[in-house]
């Protein structure tokens, strides 16, 4: 029995605390109140220690002390000493306790409210704009499939452009040009001694361009032609078909599931694996779009596709694969849209709602709100019940069961 107590005394204290708190279900009593005060006291004490140990000491005190040491000849950055100002502003909050200097606390409060307002503004925009966009749901099967959107125009190229990070190299006639792919800014342009006959290729920091008379070496950063040139055959810069590419999306959950295929001036997208969107299978046709001239190459990175023609290149924002909606999905969308409309009518107080039609819509808004609140209530019960079960599980499994085994073993 001694061994049992040595191992389980903490469980007994915990069980006593739990049961003391649950005595409130019978009626408000002193034991419950004492226990509540003990919990609040312990929690506050613990919070204070952790706040210092894990937050203020490593993130404020240490950089500040290092900063002061650096000011007086020690190693490190002296800017850390600026953290003392932050501490000073923090202390201003406590001046609310003084009648004489209470006004100084408004500085700290003002700074906090200003930061809070700015953050809230960003937060609300970031959260709600996608919500507003999502409120526009398809109510019937689409007549037109999603289309890519042109975001930028770049120079054309006779061969597939070379892409390195955000820089793309275009060759056309006897001109070579480097442009920022995501900004459309020309970085440099250089005239070559003769017309380009093949795709350029990177060799370390140089670009090798096969021309009619020779292979020209161009500096990647400045575009200057290196005097050292040589003759001979240059190998292609990439393997595979330049008119076929797997689209790269920014969202990892979409992954690399769509293939873009160019034929003439037509670009088409096909799913290459099952489940890139709900109901979409490998090989399914997704969309197609027409380019103004015959396509030379297609490249894709970071959520976009670069389509290159002889005269102009374009950056297209490729539409993500759309789920194939079933009749039930369309029904859900109707419910969603009608609900939004009814609830908004219910909460529209700018002028008096007149007429049986508006009254009926408004009344429906109240009903759907009630249904929504019912769902909230059901979930509330689930949460409260889970919290109770957690404690019941502790009482039965950790307290009563070992006790039972101890007595009746």
């Amino acid at each position: 029995m001694t061994g049992y107590w040595a191992n389980n005394w903490q469980i007994w204290i915990s069980a006593f605390c739990v049961l003391s708190v649950y005595t409130y279900l019978f009626k408000d009593n002193t034991l419950y109140r004492v226990m509540m005060q003990i919990f609040i006291g312990i929690n506050l004490g613990y919070q204070a220690i952790i706040q210092w140990r894990d937050v203020l000491y490593p993130q404020w005190y240490l950089p500040m002390i290092d900063g002061f040491r650096a000011l007086f000849g020690g190693a490190g950055s002296p800017y850390g000493a600026l953290w003392a100002l932050v501490g000073g502003i923090g202390i201003l909050f406590y001046l609310q306790l003084s009648r004489k200097y209470a006004s100084l606390s408004k500085i700290a409060i003002g700074i906090t409210i200003g930061i809070g307002a700015g953050l809230t503004f960003k937060s609300q925009l970031g959260r709600n704009i996608p919500q507003i966009l999502d409120a526009f749901k398809p109510l019937a099967p689409p007549i037109v499939r999603p289309q890519p959107r042109t975001t930028l125009k770049l120079p054309g190229s006779a061969f597939e452009p070379l892409v390195d990070d955000s820089l793309a190299i275009f060759v056309s006639g006897n001109t070579i040009e480097a442009d920022e792919v995501l900004g459309g800014v020309r970085v440099w342009q250089t005239k070559l001694p003769s017309a380009v006959t093949g795709p350029p290729r990177f060799v370390a920091e140089k670009i090798m361009v096969p021309c009619l008379t020779e292979v020209v070496q161009v500096d990647r950063s400045t575009g200057k032609i290196n005097p050292i040139t040589f003759t001979g055959e240059l190998l292609g810069n990439r393997e595979g078909d330049p008119l076929k590419v797997v689209a790269v999306y920014r969202q990892p959950q979409l992954g690399h599931g769509v293939e873009l295929r160019a034929k003439g001036s037509e670009l088409s997208a096909y799913a290459i694996k099952d489940g890139v969107a709900e109901g979409v299978h490998a090989g399914d046709f997704l969309w197609s779009a027409t380019y103004p001239e015959p396509i030379v190459s297609v490249q894709s990175f970071d959520g976009i596709a670069m389509i290159t023609g002889p005269k102009v290149s374009e950056i297209w924002e490729i539409p993500p694969p759309q789920p194939k909606l079933t009749a039930r999905d369309y029904f859900d969308n109707w419910v969603s849209v009608v609900t939004i409309f009814c609830v908004m009518t219910y909460f529209f107080f700018s002028f008096k709602r007149r007429g049986p039609m508006i009254a009926a819509v408004s009344s429906s808004g109240r009903w759907v709100l009630m249904i929504g609140l019912g769902a909230f209530f059901g979930n509330t019960v689930m949460t409260r019940m889970s919290f109770l079960l957690d404690r019941l599980m502790f009482l039965i499994d950790d307290w009563l069961r070992p006790l039972w085994h101890q007595i009746f073993r």
Binding site: L25, F26, N43, Y46, Q47, I49, I50, Q51, D54, V55, P58, Q59, L119, K122, S123, L125, G126, R127, P130, Q131, L133, D134, R250, Q251, P252, Q253, G372, A375, F376, N379, T380, V381, M382, T383, R384, M385, S386, F387, L388, L389, D390, R391, L392, M393, I396, D397
Partner: protein, 300 residues
């Protein structure tokens, strides 16, 4: 007839203590006599499971563990299921707490240690607990840009730049190194959608209390959140998925989700019964009053 109505009208005023007693007995019984019930797996749980399952091998799962003793009834089984999944799947993970109760990192550490013993995982190599910081939502953006700047030491006071003790941290710098981000707390913070990665490159997965879950569904529909584990039910579903995927390799002993979900169902049945009983009582009382009025009118 009136006697029956009088009897039924009593249902409206069932003493509170009786309801609590019945609830305690109904919810407690499945702990003593284990019962299994079929469980349907919801789409959002499966989606969260798939994202965690398909984590890239060179990336880590980031877990913001903000649960505390007040919410452990629902968040503990959820967190334990996620940790077990990462350890079984050999996906390294980092845990941190933001603006949470001071005890949150300690609770996370206890669960991590227990699961690590089961699956033979090592601190520093397979997981790192970065401890607590303050300052959301600004700190969310900072975590996305440079996590070592935010957490200069871990929960055990090792420097996050000491790669001999924390080799995992050598390749963890910014959101590019995260395969997904879980937020496990009573009310997961929606500011993650706006501040952490506005371009939505890192899938956000929420693990919340059932009570607040209804408010998050619109964010799943819009794609701002990719998956969600809802309350104890979500944890039980996740454990089922682990069971399906890993079979006996998943050591389910002591996992709380599946253990709690049956008493939860029993508790729900009790609540539904008392709601119906209360309504029957109310209707009977109204009928009784109407009968009495009609009788009085008849007398007059």
């Amino acid at each position: 007839m009136n006697k029956l109505l009088q009897l039924l009208a009593r249902l409206e005023v069932i003493p509170r203590k009786t309801i609590y007693l019945v609830l305690f007995i109904a919810a407690g019984l499945p702990f003593l006599y284990p019962i299994r019930l079929p469980l349907m797996i919801w789409k959002e749980t499966r989606s969260a499971f798939n994202i965690t399952q398909n984590s890239a091998p060179n990336k880590v799962v980031a877990i913001c563990s903000n649960w505390d003793p007040g919410s452990q009834g629902e968040n503990w089984p959820q967190y334990e299921a996620i940790v077990a999944h990462c350890m079984m799947n050999h996906v390294p993970f980092i845990v941190f707490s933001i603006d949470s109760d001071a005890v949150s990192p300690q609770l996370a550490e206890t669960v991590n240690e227990r699961q690590a013993k089961r699956y033979g995982c090592v601190y520093g190599r397979d997981w790192v607990n970065l401890g607590l910081t303050r300052g959301a939502p600004l700190v969310m953006g900072s975590i996305g840009r440079n996590i070592k700047q935010v957490f200069q030491t871990d929960y055990r006071h090792n420097s996050t730049r000491d790669f001999t003790k924390l080799p995992l941290m050598e390749h963890v710098n910014s959101l590019n190194d995260f395969s997904c981000l879980w937020d496990v707390e009573y009310t997961p913070n929606l500011d993650w959608t706006a501040f952490f990665d506005p371009a939505s490159r890192v899938p956000l997965l929420f693990s919340c209390a059932g009570m607040v879950s209804s408010g998050y569904y619109p964010y799943i529909s819009s794609g701002q959140i990719i998956g969600m584990m809802v309350g104890t039910r979500g944890a039980a579903e996740y454990e089922n998925l682990l069971n399906e995927k890993y079979g006996k390799a998943f050591k389910s002993e002591g996992m709380r989700g599946q253990k709690l979900v049956v008493p939860l169902a029993f508790g729900h049945l009790v609540i539904i019964f008392f709601i119906l009983a209360g309504n029957v009582g109310m209707i009977a009382r109204r009928k009784l009053i109407a009968n009495e009025r009609a009788a009085k009118k008849g007398q007059l």
